[in-house]
């Protein structure tokens, strides 16, 4: 495994109380593999990613337990200056909103080149040449002329491609993409996802794709981890999960999306709301919204059951769910 997250716990200490954002997450990615982390807002999917990258705001955030093993070493045991050498060079992140994650007062060439100056000690001139190469690589037309342009002079799709170029600059082994196409239009989303998949194949990178879009997941992922209230409730190869989900939350999500290729009847709606992270229900966190909930669900936290080879579910009644 390229990266393995083991029993990760993260909480945020605020004036109103302690918000338990991540409560024991286990997942792993191999080289060349795409893991999709699926979840709604507040499920802890981005917080987990920030903990892996080491860009969590501490305080108020605090990692209270677990390990993040990357290329054989536990990142949580490294000192900040050692961590900094990993970040960017060995693992990189692509954010949702390219306009607010790029520096508006630096040209894109300077921002791309900075990676080479800081990490590789290149001269400014060489770094600029590499920046042009990268922009070419992510198919920005007339890269040589546009390298001096500022982020606001590019369209949304092109800005996201510059973000991808920046993440790829030092050829990292792992890329974490946090909702990389959510802010883009469908036709541009298709362009960007295709580019990302192509580059991943070429460099044999591990990719963690964080998203809430079940369509995007089905399109690109090898495996899926579904998150709810800071836990992974189901993890499975992509084909299995769409065919037969083994957790009622996954089933609910799949049934509740309108489909392009179906003229639907009434949609199934998961009742209620996601839980407040300062007050997660006892037992299974999903029990107040679950159509299958019984007494044991309200008292006992379900462990991760092995459903199949490489497939787990955190539901006491996963066999029932799997069989419909």
């Amino acid at each position: 495994m390229l990266l393995e997250v083991r029993d990760l716990h993260v909480e945020f200490r605020t004036r109103d109380g302690v918000a338990k954002a991540v409560n024991g997450v286990d997942y792993g990615v191999d080289e060349g593999e795409t893991l999709a982390v699926l979840g709604e807002s507040g499920s802890g999917k981005s917080v987990t990613a920030q903990a892996i990258m080491g860009i969590l705001d501490i305080p108020p955030g605090k990692i209270t337990g677990g390990e993040i093993v990357f290329q054989g070493q536990d990142l949580l045991k490294l000192k900040e200056d050692e961590r900094r050498k990993v970040r960017g060079a060995e693992m990189a992140m692509i954010f949702q909103d390219a306009l607010s994650s790029l520096n508006p007062v630096l040209s894109v060439g300077d921002q791309l080149g900075e990676m080479f100056v800081v990490h590789r000690g290149m001269s400014k001139k060489d770094a600029r040449a590499r920046a042009v190469e990268l922009m070419d690589r992510v198919r920005i037309p007339a890269a040589k002329e546009r390298v001096r342009d500022y982020p606001h002079q590019f369209s949304g799709g092109m800005r996201q491609r510059i973000m991808i170029a920046m993440a790829l600059a030092l050829e990292p082994a792992l890329i974490i993409a946090d909702e990389p196409t959510t802010a883009l239009d469908v036709t541009v989303q298709a362009q960007v996802m295709e580019l990302l998949a192509e580059l991943q194949r070429e460099y044999n990178m591990g990719l963690i794709l964080i998203t809430h879009d079940l369509g995007v997941v089905a399109d690109v992922a090898d495996r899926i981890a579904v998150m709810y209230a800071g836990r992974i409730v189901e993890q499975a190869p992509v084909h299995d999960i769409y065919k037969a989900p083994a957790h009622p939350y996954t089933r609910g999500l799949l049934d509740s999306i309108p489909r392009l290729d179906q003229k639907g009847q009434e949609l199934y709606a998961i009742k209620g709301l996601p839980p407040n992270l300062m007050n997660i229900p006892p037992g299974c966190a999903f029990n107040p919204r679950c159509p299958m909930a019984r007494d044991v669900c309200r008292t006992d936290v379900p462990p991760l059951y092995d459903v199949d080879d490489g497939r787990t579910s955190a539901c006491h009644f996963w066999t029932e769910c799997l069989n419909g």
Partner: protein, 345 residues
């Protein structure tokens, strides 16, 4: 066809671009909406889809009179509302209400839910006499699935989905006949989206509403609409019944748009043909000559740069009585199936 309730013809909205401070002179214009025609039938849902900047929200704003059109007409039950003012306008506006996209910014944080939903009654007091308002607001809360006791709470005490229900209740307060919903669910989480879509469905049959449903998500639009119009750079490029558009699209833009939507079905990954468009949407200040889609179209020829294609049934399908015979603004329209519709189990 059912009796039309809204008829829109030749609708145009251009925003002037000016230069200079003292002596302003117009140097161009943003052609946000550039000639849109459609009709909305009574009790029908017309979905409008398109990417950002295609003018779909500007159309919505003109329908509820938040923007004045540069040209064109909007007829509500045969009466052109763009020419009305004063009392007559006020009474028409009562009948066309809007639900906004962002439930976080479209509710005043300093007003209670009761005041927000009841505010339309201050403007149209004839709908609800003063003493009756509280009861009416509580009824509305109940209708949209919120606890009527929440009447004195503030917006921040509600979740996104609940706030959108408040926005819908406000839209219903005056018992309108038409609801214009601009991206009503796009800010919501997946599991909450379905709740709000089902609510809109139920309210439509309960109150005999006609919906103009604007969204960029093609799957949601298909689910809720009877007819669908596809917009590109300020114009409708294709319009028809939902099966005509989704299963038998004839305009290349519609085909590309449909093929780009990711399907929640990993088995479809290999089978599907993807049409990946190159480049970005041109700027609405500088619209290409002829067909406005030609700069990204793989079929474009010389004729496309010279002649503007009209929105009509293309000649090759005019005498065929199939689902391909619907309005499509393309010189080289041809049917191409990009989605395979499955029957719901």
């Amino acid at each position: 066809m059912v009796e039309p309730i809204l008829e829109v013809a030749g609708l145009v909205k251009h925003y002037p671009l000016t230069r200079g401070i003292l002596f302003k002179k117009q140097v161009g214009s943003v052609k946000a909406v550039d000639g849109v025609d459609f009709t909305l039938g009574k009790g029908e849902t017309l979905g409008i889809v398109g990417e950002s900047g295609c003018g779909k929200s500007t159309v919505a704003k003109m329908l509820v009179n938040l923007e004045r059109p540069t040209a064109g007409s909007i007829k509500f039950k045969g009466e052109d509302i763009t020419k009305l003012s004063g009392k007559a306008l006020k009474s028409v506006r009562r009948n066309i209400q809007m639900v906004f996209q962002d439930p976080y910014t479209s509710l005043n944080p300093r007003m209670t839910v009761g005041d927000i939903i009841g505010e339309p009654y201050d403007i149209h007091p004839e709908v609800a006499p003063k003493g009756d308002r509280r009861r009416k607001v509580q009824e509305l809360l109940d209708v949209v699935g919120l606890n009527p006791e929440y009447i004195n709470r503030y917006p921040h005490q509600f979740s996104g989905g609940q706030r959108q229900r408040i926005g819908i209740a406000r839209g219903l307060a005056l018992r309108p006949e038409v609801i214009v919903a601009d991206e009503p669910v796009s800010a919501l989480d997946v599991s909450v989206q379905a709740q709000v879509i089902n609510l809109l469905d139920r309210l439509q049959s309960e109150f005999e509403l006609s919906y103009l449903f604007i969204a960029h998500d093609l799957s949601i639009v298909r689910h809720i609409s009877d007819r669908v119009g596809v917009m590109y750079l300020g114009r409708i490029v294709e319009i028809g019944r939902d099966a005509e558009i989704y299963d038998h699209p004839t305009h290349p833009y519609t085909q590309a748009l449909l093929s780009a939507v990711p399907l929640p079905d990993p088995e479809a990954r290999e089978r599907r043909e993807r049409i990946i468009l190159t480049g970005d949407v041109p700027s609405p200040t500088n619209i290409p000559s002829g067909c406005r889609f030609r700069t990204r179209c793989w079929k474009a020829q010389e004729r496309c740069a010279l002649e503007v294609p009209a929105l009509a049934v293309p000649a090759e399908f005019r005498f065929a009585a199939g689902p391909a015979a619907h309005d499509s603004a393309c010189h080289f329209a041809e049917e191409k199936q990009v989605v395979t519709t499955k029957e719901p189990e």
